[in-house]
Amino acid sequence: MVDIRLNATINGRKVSRDAKPHLRLLDFLRDDLNLTGNKEGCGAGECGTCSVFVDGVLMKSCLMPVAKAQGATVDTIESLAKSGELSVLQKAFHKAGASQCGYCIPGMVMAATAALRANPFADREEIKERLGGNICRCTGYQKIFDAVELARDVQNGRLPSTALLETDTADGDVIGKSVRRIDAPSKVSGRLKYAGDMIMPGMLHVQVLRSPHAHARIVSIDTSAALAIAGVESVITSADVPGKDGFGVFVHDQPIMARDKVRYVGEAVAAVAAEDALTAKRAVAAIKVVYEPLAPVFDPDEAMREGAAIVHDYAPDNITKHIPIRVGDVEAGFAESDLVIEENYSTQAIEHAYLEPEAGLAYIDHDDVVTVVSPSQNITHHRHMLARIIAKPISKVRFIMSPVGGGFGGKEDMIYQGMLALLAMKTMRPVRLVYTREESIISTAKRHPSRTTLRMGVTRDGRIKALAMRMVCDGGAYGLSTEGVMRKAAILAAGPYNIPNVRIDTFGIYTNNTPSGAFRSFGALQTQFATESHLDIIAERLGLDPFEIRRINAMRDGATTHTKQKLGSVSLMRALDAAEQASNWEAGAPTVRGPTRGDLGHDDVRPSVTLGARFAADDKQEAAE
C-alpha cells in the first residue's frame, strides 16, 4: 500500500500526515484526525451528515477520496464554533428547536451555512432546494427551515440578534412557553459523541459475517483462516456463548449469532475483532461456513398452513403470538345492521431509517464489569438479558445509553450488543462496531407488514353495530417485539369508537423474512389504517360526512373501551374539530365534491414540490423583457 502524504489546511491549521490511499476524506477526518462532528449516515452520498467545505465549496466527504483534499482547505462543523461561540446559524438552530436526535444536524448546519453564503437573501423555497442533499428523519424539516430563515433575517439585520436568545422566562414559568432545548448546543456544534464517534485506547474494530441464506442449517464454521490473519484478535460464533443464549423483547428466541441454523438473510453468523476495520473485513471474508439450505417460508399466510416450513421448533404452527378479543355477539350485531361491508387492507414493511446506523462500544472495566455503550432504547432489559447470555451476575453487567441518533423503535432490540460484550470478554480490549447503512437495513427490525380483513356492520344512521377483524402480520424470523405489537394492534383495532360487538384476532407469524419489531405506533397503524379507511368507505355508502360518522360513534368522557378500560376523559371530539378546521374540510359526504377542490391553495397548504427556486428571479426578468 502506498500511503499518501497529505498536506492540507484543516479547520485553519496546517496538517501534514500520511493517509492510507483508500480512505475517504470522511474517514481521514473522523478516524485519523478525530474530527467526529460530521457523521456517516449512509456512506453513499444520500444523507449529507458528512458535508464539509473543501476550498469553500460544500462537499459530501463520504464521496471524496482523501487524495482529492491534497493542498485543499477543509472546514468541518468544528470550524464554525471554534472558540466555543456558536455561529448565528447554530444559534438559530438552537432557538428554533431544529434539532431532535441531532445526528443530521452538523451536516444540516453546514448545508445551511453554504445556502446562506450562496444567497444571503434566499427565500424558504430556495433554502429547501439548497438543503436538498441533506436528510433529516426526526424534525419533518419545518423547524430546520425556520432556523435558516431566522439566521438569514438576523444576518441581514431584519431581525435583532436578540431574536436568537431564549424567550424571557424570568418568572420561572416555562409551561406552555417555547424554550430552547438544553441539548441543542452540543448537537449544532457537532460536539455530542454518538457511539460511533467514541474511541478508547487499544480499541479493536468489529465486523460481522452475515447469512446469505434465508433458511439454512449451519453444517460447519471454520474460522481458522480468519484467525491466522495478522491483526485479528478474536473470531466468535454462537459456540462461544457461555450462558443461556437468546434475546427478544418478549420471547427470547434470537441467539446473539445464528445457532445451528440461519433464519433470515443478514442474520449474524460470526464476528471478528481486529486492529482495524479493513483487517476485520478481510477476516470475515476468510471465514468458511458450510450451509445446507432449508425450504424457506416468506408468506405469513402460507406459514400458517399445514406442512409449511417451520422457522422455530418451539412454534410448529409458526405463530409467534395470537391476540384474540371478544366483546358481545358479533353475528347478532351484523344481523341488526342495515349495511355490512367487508374489505381487505394491507400495509408493507418499513425501515425506520434513523440517520445514525447502529454502533456500539464494549469493554471490561477495572472491576470486571462488562460494559456496553450503545444507542439502545431499552438498556435495563438488555442488561438483564445479557447477564444471562454471558453467565455473569447482573452486578457485573453495565449498559450505558449513548445519544440515540434516531430510534423510532428500531433500537429496542439487542441485535449486536451481545457480540460486542463477548468480543470484549474474549480479547479483554475495548471493541467497537459501527454498522454500515446497508447492514442496518438488512439486519434490523422493520415495521410489521400486515394483511387485514375487516367486516363492519352499521345502521342506516351511521351507528357501528359490529366489527370483526382478522389481521395477519409477518413477524419475520424472530419474535423481537411482535407479541406487544400484536397486542397493541388488537387493543386499538376498533378505534376510539363505541362498538357493542367486537371480534378481533391479530396474529404475528414467523417467516424467513427480516424480523419485524417495534416501529412508531407499535401495531396501532396497521389496524387503524383498516378501521379508519373502512369508516370512510361506509360514510360514502351512507351519504354521511366522514367526520360525522366518527362523531356519531365517538367515545365520550366516561366511555369503556372494548378491552374494558374506563376512560375518564376522551379528547376525540376536540381532535376531530381541530382536524376538520386545519384541513379546510369541505363538509358533506365524500360523493358530493364537485370538480374543484376548496381545501387546496390556502396559505397553510404547502404547494407541490418544484425545483429551480434559484431561477425564479431570472424567470421574472425574462418575462419582463
Binding site: V2, I4, H22, R24, C62, A67, Q70, G132
Partner: protein, 302 residues
Amino acid sequence: MLICDEYVTPGTLAEAFAAMERHRGRYRVVAGCTDTLPWAREGRAGDVEIPVLIDVSKIPELNERQVGDKRVRLGAATPIQRFLDDAALGRAMPAMPRCAVWFADDQIRAQATLGGNVVNASPAADATPCLEAHDAVVELASAKGKRNMALREFITGPGKTQLAEGELVTGFDCDAFPGYGGSFEKVGHRRSLVISVVCLAVMVKLDRDGLTIEDTRLAIAGIRPVPRRLREIEDHLRGKRLTGALLEEAADMPLDLVQSRTRQEYRRDVVRGFLVRGLIAAAKRAGASPDALTQELEAAYG
C-alpha cells in the same frame, strides 16, 4: 468499500497515459468518484479491491472550458455545477442549467463530472440527453493519439461505450445555442438525489416576434437503453407557428419512444406531459409572445 493500494493523481495527460500503461490491467480511471464510491458497496458491487485508482480530474486539458457563439468545448472533468455558476456557459447551453439544478444535489454536482456522467452511460443519466441535443462530439485520447466520435455512437447501451483500453474521454465539442430558451423536465421519487424515471432536454428558438418556432432541439432519456434525440418532433415543429395545438400535436406524434423494462404506460403519460410542458417553458424563456400560448394550456401543463 473501495479498497486500493495506490491512488494516483496525474497532473498531465502524458502522466495519466504513463500510469495507465504502468498499471495495465490493474487500474480504474476515476474523476468525481461520486458514482464509483457508492458502487463499491453492499447491494451493488460490494467490497471492491482495485490495485490502482487513477484520478484524472486534475489534468488541465480535462478542465478547459471554451464558450463561443457557435461552439462550446468542455473538458471531461467539468463539474456539473459549472452550468449553474458560469452564466456564459448557461446561455450557450440553455437547457443545461435547468438540468444541473435537478442533478443530484448542490454538493454532489460540485464534484460530479460531465465526463463521468457520459462514461457511466446510465440510461437515466441527466446530462447525456442535454449533450445529445447539442450534437456533442466526444473527444477521446490515448497514448497513441486522439479521435472524435459522435456521442450517439459513443454510448452503445446501458453502461456500455466505445471507450477503448488505454483511452480517456478528454472533452466534448458541442453546438452552442445562444438565444434559445431551455428547459429540462425530470421526474423521480423526490426532489434531490433522485434517478430520473424520465428526463427531457428542450431548447427552442423563436423568431423576433416570439410567434414562430425557428428551431428546436429535443432529447430524452430514462425510457430506453440509451438517450434518444427526437428529430421527428423537431422537424415537425421547425418553421411552424407556436400554438398550444401545435405543441399537443407534437406530443401526440406516434413514436414508440418508451422501451424501458418497467412502467411503460406511466412513462408514456409522463413523456407526453413533459413534451408539452418542456416546450412551453422553453418557448417562454425564448421570448414567446404572450398571445401564442393560451392560459389554459399553461394551467394544464405548468
